[in-house]
Each structure stands twice: as C-alpha cells, then as structure tokens.
C-alpha cells in the first residue's frame, strides 16, 4: 500500500467494503437487470424494425414514391406528371375478389401488375418463375402467383386453373415472398398477383367497383421527396390522390410498431417499478448488515457525508453491474431470437446491437436504482457510534428533507424521460399515473390484509398451523405488503388481459352471430341489384337482407377550410370512408337531431352525420362538409345527426347523403344477408355464377382476422406482464431469503413448544400460499374493475366477470408465492433448536 493513494477516502472504503463480494446484492442486481433487459430488448427490436424498414423502404413501398388513386386510373395529365418526375413508373391495381375453382370459392386480395412489377426487390416464388415469365402477355391464358394458403384452400397446385370474375388464370407458382406486402393496407384475403392485361376481360373493374390503383415511381437518386410531394399536391389539388414515399413506406406498420413498442417499454418500466420494491428491500437488508461497520467507522471519525458517499458508491457499483447484465441480456435476446421475431413480422427487420435503445434502458435503470435506493441510503446518516452497543438502532426514521426533494426530482426525471423517449408522452404519463396508483392501491390492500389477518388469527381454535400462519401475516414486519406489491402488479395486468380477452372472445363467439349478418356482398353493379334482390327474396333461409349504395370518398373540408384544421387527426379523416345515399332514414339508424330530407328532395345537397363522431370532431347541424369522390368535390350541409350502432357488424355509414348529391356518380351497391349456415353454399354459388364480379365476404372470417390482430396485441401485453411477474417473483425470493433468519428462530421456538416438522412446514406453506392467493384475489378484483372499464367505457361493449381467468390468476399467485416461500423453509426445518436459542441468549 503506498502513501500516494490520493483517491477520496469514501472511494477507498467503498472499494474495500465491496471485497465481501456482490453475493448479498444478488436480488438487487437481478431485479434491476430484468427491468433493464426487457426495456433494452423491446427498444432494440423497435429500432431493428425502423432500420430494416428504412433500408428496404423502396422495396416495401414498391418504388421510391407512390401515387394512390381510389377506384380510378390516373388520367393523361397525371400520367404525364409521373413520367416527368420519374425514371420508371409501374402501375398496379388492388382489389378484393372471389377466386373460383369449380364450386369452391375463396376471398382473395388481387393485385394486378404491369411488366415492371416489382420495381424494386424480387418476388419469391415456388417453383422459381420470374414475374416477366409468369405474366407473359404472349401466353394464351394469363398466369398468376398465389399465396400458398389460398392455393391450399382452393386445392390447386402450379399448373392448375382458377377463375377471377369471368377470366380464367393459370397458377404459375406459389407466392412465398411478396416484396411490397408491407406497404399494403389491411387485406381480408390472401394475395393473388395477376397481370393487368389479364384483368381487362375479367369484368371485375367496372366503374364504381371498389379498387385502388398504385403508381410506383423510380426516382432519380437526387430527387427531393418533400419537394415532389408538394409539387404533386399543388398540381392536383382535390383529386383525392394520396402520395407516399420512402420516408415512410408503411405508415400503418410503423404506427403499430411505434405504439406497441412505446406501450411495451412502459410495461417494462412498470416491471422496473416492481423490481424497485425488491431493489429497495435488498439495499435495506444490505445496509442493515453493514450497521456495525458504519458504527465502527463513526467511532474512527467518519462523518455522515463520507459514510453516505462510501455506500452510495457501492450502490453505484451494483447498479452498474445490474445494468450491464440487463443490457447484455436485452441486446443479446433479440439477436438470439431473431428467426422467431422475423417470422412474425410482415416487414424486414435488422436485428443488431443498437446503442440508442441500450442507452435509453440504462438511463431508466440508473434513475430507478437511484429512486429506490436513496431512501435506505439516506438513513445511513442515522447510524450512530452507539449502535455498536444497542441492537435495533439503525436504518429507521424519515430521511432528511433534502433527500426527499431529490427523490421527488428523480421520480420526475424518470417520468419525464419516459414521456420524452417513448415517443408517446400522453401514454407515458397515463402509465406512470396508473403504475403509481396501482402500487399505492396494492400497498393499501397489503396493509388491510395484514390487519385482517391480525384480527382473525386469535379466533382460530385447534388449528395451530393455520393460526400461526395468520399470526405471521398479521404481525408487525410481516411480508404481506411486499408480497402483494411484488406479485400484485404483474397479476393485475394479467387479470385485466384475462377479463378483456374472455369477454371479447365471448362477444365474438356467442353474442355477435346472433346480431351480425352472415355475409357482406360488395361490388354489386346497379343493374345487377334487381336480380340480386329477387334471388335473395326467394330464399326462405334468409331472415333479413339490408343493402345500400356504396361509394368511397375522402373528407377534405369542413366549412370551406381544410378538415384537419377543424377536426385534427380524427380517424374519420384518415384515408377514405364509405359513403352512401338514402331517400329515407335507414333501418336501425336513430335520428338524434335535425330532420331527414323528404323522399323527393331536390335542393342543395344535404347529409346526415354520425352524432358521436360529429361531437368528437366539433361539428354539428348546419356545417358544410366537402368530400372528394373520384377526384370530384361534393359539398353538402349537415341536416341530421344520427345514432349508428356499429356493434352488430352490419351496414353503418358515418355519412349518408341526400340521393341527389351522389346518385350521378359511378357506384356499386353492397348488401348484407342473415342466412342459415346450411344454405350458405347454394346461395354463394348462385350469386357467383350469375354475378362473378360480386365479392362475398364472410363476416366471421373478417371478425376472426380482427380478433387475431387483437390477440397478438394481448399476447405482447401478456409477455410484458409475465416479465413484471418474473421480477415480482425474484423480489419474493429476495424477501424470503431476507426472512430466513427469522424463520430459523421461529422454527426453533415452535420445535421447543412441541411442533413437528410437518406442522411447521404446513404453517409456512399456508402463510406463503395465503399471501400469494390474496395478491391474486386483489389483482382479480382490480383486473375486473379495469376490464369492466375497458369494455364498457372504451369498447362500448358489455362486461361479464370471467371466472376461469380469475381462478388461474389466484392459483398462479398462490403457487409463485409458495415456491418462493418453501424454497427457504427447508433450512429452518432442518436446524436443531438448542444452538439457535442459545445464541439468541
């Protein structure tokens, strides 16, 4: 040891003290590492998706930029513009139709492509056939590529034929990888790709049919995308053209990934909060073991600040170790699980180690560690030299107000960082408030549980094991609060998910079929409507049929001003909406305000608007709405506000116009039918044969697809909750380990009083089981309340308590607590009482 050691004395003490190793800080390190790992993992995946999407933006979009038109092709002027700015233009058309093989029909999302498709990337096919060859215009029959799922549904293999509309196609190959799939919107059926020339004779793209055309542009390398977008909008205002480019190739996917990523990071933070309970307890027990050392340092002349600094440095070292472990895990897991993650995402993903999400996770980790350690650390100042003589004097009392201020500032910094970095400040603040409130509720519930056990225990007669268990739960310093806190939050989230999921499933499986139609028919041409209705009217198995004209349009202006200025980013303004017209108030639609026009009304165009959405958008009776339909602006005044019920999945329009406003525009009709399942096939075949252009969408299939999407959201949330629960379990193990000495003494005393090992074990098991089950019951009650709120207030659905999920949650809580508790019950059972009690004396 040299005299030149000029490091601060606190650092020297810290370094020497850490020679004891970090074994006693295992729980601290593990809790912190788990929280940091989950945040780093989610952040890394989010970044990987962003990088992947940016790298392959042109492939996902199908070009450097895209102009999208709703059920029309570009006109001469628009084509000229595209040719001017692009080095190549590829035209594709996208619509739904029925693929038919004999009597088998299946819904498919068709993409008609020109010879340039795909402009970027390559289509993966099985067997390998280049698109130019598959779609060769010199062939007798047009070729096609098809999603293997659809081919299997139709029972065809490459070389077989199928029909779209009135045109037969030869399946050339199965479409394994559609390069521009990520940029497409929501599709109800699997993909079929056919050449545009093959569609000309299919009868599927008549005026008014629901289709969209996409013009993919290859741009010069120095193209200024923002400038070009502005030019396009300036040159073709009010034509309903939508521009997209590689700056955001798949906005839907990006938004989804962003939202779910932000949400999961916030769930990770909730996990860190639960871990914080363990961190705090672990630091407290670490420092309690150091009281003699601190008191000795006091006698040798150490001041409060030196002692605080020495232990603060030790906590920093543990924090650094925990964060490093968490970052290593969080960075490695996504890379290790890459094949699994890649298979589940519709977009390319570049899994690698990214510094930004790791730095973000480290920041959260540092802040959480500081918040949860500052309180016990601050109390090291309370340790006096006299503690060497009096047991029990130590880390108690309220820290100095300065520390409390720092604690408040650190918590503010953590919430602020989450709000700023998650990219969703609103969500972050809600989650922070929610987690804070949840932890407070759980702490209070834990205290109530303790008080309840204390009151009940004395009334138990002749069951000493049970009485001892309840007495232990009710005793001062019992585990009740820490068990409820550590398991409660994870179980609460799972319980909420369980309640919401069970109710949604029930609604879809049980309630919806009673009110929802069986089929939607779209693209029924106006001249086909009489035949269609006649066929349906003659079918006794159909209990009800509804139909309406269907157009699509974009709401562009409100009272002559851009709609976004009035209604912000309301969903009604996002993309195009279905529009209809009706002479009379439609069935199932309630009039909330205003008056419906007379059946023969022929004045200035009027419309009815859904009352709830109108209120959200800040518009009402008398306001003028402009919609762009097929590139033409149509302005009408709101004459009525209506109450639309979307819950039955039937026909429901936000905007219904007076007939004179829209009847002149090219359009088709849609219909819904309620039919007995056994009669479905015959009707579908009849309609398919007579009207091959009409597309039938099975409502159940559509709902299944939506519920699949919801289920993956639920699965992601459950995964987050599972990490929170795992952290809670680690906290429990920490608590059980800390209580080991007390249990050894308790077992020794009970043995001297005549308790057998079995009795003692039963008592310990009951105690752990009760506490875990109680945490589960509290979580179920809170989850039921949250589930009720989500279902009735957010989803406007009904709520019924789901008992199966509740039982699983309670049993899960009991089991976790039991495992953690019993793991530490064996040593106390094995020790002989004499040496223990002698040492106590």
């Amino acid at each position: 040891m040299s005299t030149t050691d000029r490091r601060p004395v606190a650092l020297r003490i810290a370094q020497r003290d850490l020679r004891g190793g970090l074994a006693s800080a295992r729980i601290f390190i593990l809790c912190l590492a788990l929280g940091v790992a989950s945040i780093a993992g989610v952040g890394s995946v989010r970044q990987a998706i962003e990088v992947g999407m940016n790298r392959e933006a042109s492939i996902i979009l199908g070009g450097d930029a895209e102009l999208r038109f709703t059920y029309r092709y570009a006109d001469e002027d628009e084509r000229r513009f595209m040719a001017e700015i692009a080095t190549a233009v590829s035209e594709t058309v996208d619509f739904r139709s029925m693929a038919v093989v004999g009597d088998t029909r299946a819904l498919t999302q068709v993409r008609g492509v020109d010879e340039l498709w795909p402009l970027y990337g390559e289509a993966g096919t099985e067997p390998f056939v280049p698109p130019v060859e598959a779609f060769d215009a010199r062939a007798e029959e047009p070729g096609a590529l098809m999603d293997p799922i659809l081919a299997e549904r139709l029972d065809i293999v490459p070389g077989d034929r199928f029909v779209l509309g009135t045109q037969s196609f030869v399946l050339r190959a199965l479409l394994i990888d559609e390069p521009d799939a990520g940029g497409s919107g929501f599709a109800l059926g699997p993909r079929t790709v056919v050449p545009l020339w093959g569609l000309e004779t299919s009868g599927l793209l008549a005026p008014g049919t629901l289709f969209e055309t996409n013009y993919r542009l290859a741009l010069p390398p120095d193209a200024d995308l923002a400038q070009l977008e502005q030019t396009a909008e300036g040159r073709f205002p009010d034509r309903g053209i939508r521009w997209r480019d590689t700056r955001s190739p798949a906005p839907g996917v990006e938004e989804f990934v962003d939202r779910i990523g932000a949400f999961l990071i916030l769930v990770g933070l909730a996990g860190l909060a639960v871990g914080g309970v363990g961190i705090s307890a672990s630091v407290r027990s670490y420092l309690e073991a150091k009281i003699a050392t601190i008191a000795t340092l006091r006698t040798l002349g150490a001041e409060t600040r030196v002692i605080f600094a020495a232990y603060f440095l030790q906590i920093l070292a543990m924090t650094a170790f925990g964060i490093a472990l968490g970052l290593a895990l969080g960075a490695a897991l996504p890379v290790v699980l890459a094949p699994l993650i890649e298979a589940r995402l519709p977009v390319p993903i570049d899994l690698a180690i990214y510094p930004r999400p790791l730095a973000e996770a480290a920041l959260y980790g540092i802040l959480a560690a500081l918040i949860f350690t500052l309180w016990p650390l601050a109390r090291t100042g309370h340790v006096r030299a006299a503690s060497l003589y009096r047991q029990g004097i130590g880390l108690s009392g309220l820290p100095h107000w300065g520390y409390l201020m720092v604690l408040v500032l650190l918590t503010g910094a953590l919430v602020g960082a989450a709000a700023f970095l998650s990219g969703s400040a609103f969500l972050a603040l809600w989650v922070a408030a929610g987690v804070g409130m949840a932890l407070a509720v759980l702490a209070v519930a834990g205290l109530i549980l303790r008080s309840f056990a204390r009151r009940v225990a004395p009334s138990i007669r002749n069951q000493p094991a049970l009485r001892a268990a309840l007495a232990a739960i009710g005793a001062p310093g019992s585990d009740a609060v820490s068990v409820v806190l550590s398991l409660g939050l994870g179980l609460w989230i799972l319980a909420t998910m369980g309640q919401v999921d069970a109710n949604l499933r029930a609604a879809i499986a049980r309630d919806l079929p009673q009110v929802a139609p069986s089929y939607f028919f779209v693209d029924i041409q106006r001249d086909q409507m009489p035949n269609f209705l006649e066929r349906m009217d003659n079918e006794p198995t159909i209990s009800r049929i509804d139909h309406a004209p269907l157009l699509r349009g974009v709401l562009t202006q409100i009272n002559g001003r851009p709609a976004a200025e009035i209604a912000g980013e309301h969903w009604v303004l996002q993309g195009d909406r279905g529009l209809t017209y009706s002479a009379e108030l439609p069935r199932d639609v309630g009039l909330v305000a205003g008056a419906w026009w007379s059946p023969d009304y022929d004045g200035p165009p009027l419309l009815s608007f859904a009352a709830e959405e109108a209120e959200e958008m800040g518009i009402g009776l008398g306001d003028e709405i402009t919609v762009n339909v097929l590139g033409r602006d149509i302005t009408a005044e709101i004459a009525a506000l209506t109450d639309i019920d979307f819950s039955n999945a039937g026909i429901g329009f936000i905007m219904t116009f007076s007939p004179n406003a829209l009847i002149g525009a090219p359009h088709t009709h849609m219909a819904t039918i309620y039919i007995e399942e056994a009669a479905e096939a015959a009707i579908l075949n009849d309609i398919g044969d007579a009207m091959p252009n009409v597309t039938a969408i099975r409502v159940r299939d559509a709902i299944d697809q939506v519920s699949d999407a919801l289920r993956s959201l639920a699965a992601a949330t459950s995964l987050g909750a599972a990490v929170t629960l795992l952290t809670g379990f680690v906290v429990l193990i920490g608590a059980a380990a800390a209580g080991d000495r007390a249990r050894v003494k308790e077992a020794a005393v009970l043995k001297t009083l005549g308790a057998t090992k079995a009795k003692i074990l039963t008592s310990f098991a009951l105690r752990s089981g009760f506490l875990g089950a109680a945490a589960g019951i509290i979580a179920v009650l809170a989850g039921a309340l949250a589930g009720w709120a989500v279902l009735t207030q957010v989803m406007e659905s009904s709520y019924r308590f789901a008992p199966v999920s509740a039982i699983l949650i309670v049993a899960g809580g009991a089991l976790l607590s039991l495992i953690a508790g019993l793991g530490f019950a064996l040593r106390p059972l094995a020790v002989r009482p004499a040496p223990i009690l002698r040492n106590q004396d």
Partner: protein
Amino acid sequence: MLALGQDLGPLSEDALARFRRKHMGVVFQSFHLIPTMTALENVAMPLEFAGAGDAFERARADLDAVGLGHRTGHYPSEMSGGEQQRVALARAVVARPEILLADEPTGNLDAANGAAVMDLILALQAEHGATLILVTHDAELAARCSETIQLADGRIAGDVTRDAAE
C-alpha cells in the same frame, strides 16, 4: 459531559465523529474491526479520515509496535482474538489521541492473551502519553490504573487515586 474542556452534549453526530477523530482512540470488547479490510487498512482508517498522506506507513509502524508487522495483509477473520484486539489497539493509538478509551478490552480473550493485551495497552499509553480510560469488571486490572472510579447502578460508588509508582 466535558472532555478536553469541550461540552460534548450539544455536539451533532458529525461533530462527535470529528472530536473522536482528533482526540480519541477506542478499543472495544468485541474488537469491531471492519471485516472487509486488512489489518493494515483497519489501522490506517483513522489517519485516512484525518487526511494524513503517510497513513499506511504510520499504520505499518504501529502494527510492528504491537508485534503484528508480519500480519499486515491479513483480514480479521484470518486472525485469532488476541491478534484482532492488538490490531484494534494499534488502530486506537495510531492517530496519537489524547484520550484512549478501552471498553472491557480483555473481556473476549483468554487469560494469557488478555494479560498480553493489557500490558500492551499500558505500554502504549505510557509511550504516547495519552489518558487511558479503561472500563472493566476486573478489579486486578483496574488496580493497575492511576485512578479507579467505581460505578454501581449508573452512579459513582467510589473513587480511588493511586500514586503512579504504585
């Protein structure tokens, strides 16, 4: 309570720590060495708190003086009770305090080790000229001090002053 002319009653815990650092060395019955520090580091600690640049040289010299020059790198758990108490003694005197407080310093030691430690305490006290305040139940040990104050139930029950040569 007055010590070295200073009233200790109103002093804060930090002020007391500074007072001990400057003026006092303490030897405990159960040694209270810091388990994660070597003998040398334990002894150097008071000097380090005082900011002495030669803390380790002086600590080594005092360990030599108590006969433990060969055990400087050992941890408390690697030493016998007698050795631990000698380290504690070196730690108590290393900063040359005016007051040396020894609380039952031989209470946890066998007779031979106890006697050796007591000889050492008295020798060091004589060498450094500190005031030794020894708390003990051992009348024989008390008799080796220049003044004995007897306490019973927290009150002074007797006070015997002896000649230094006695």
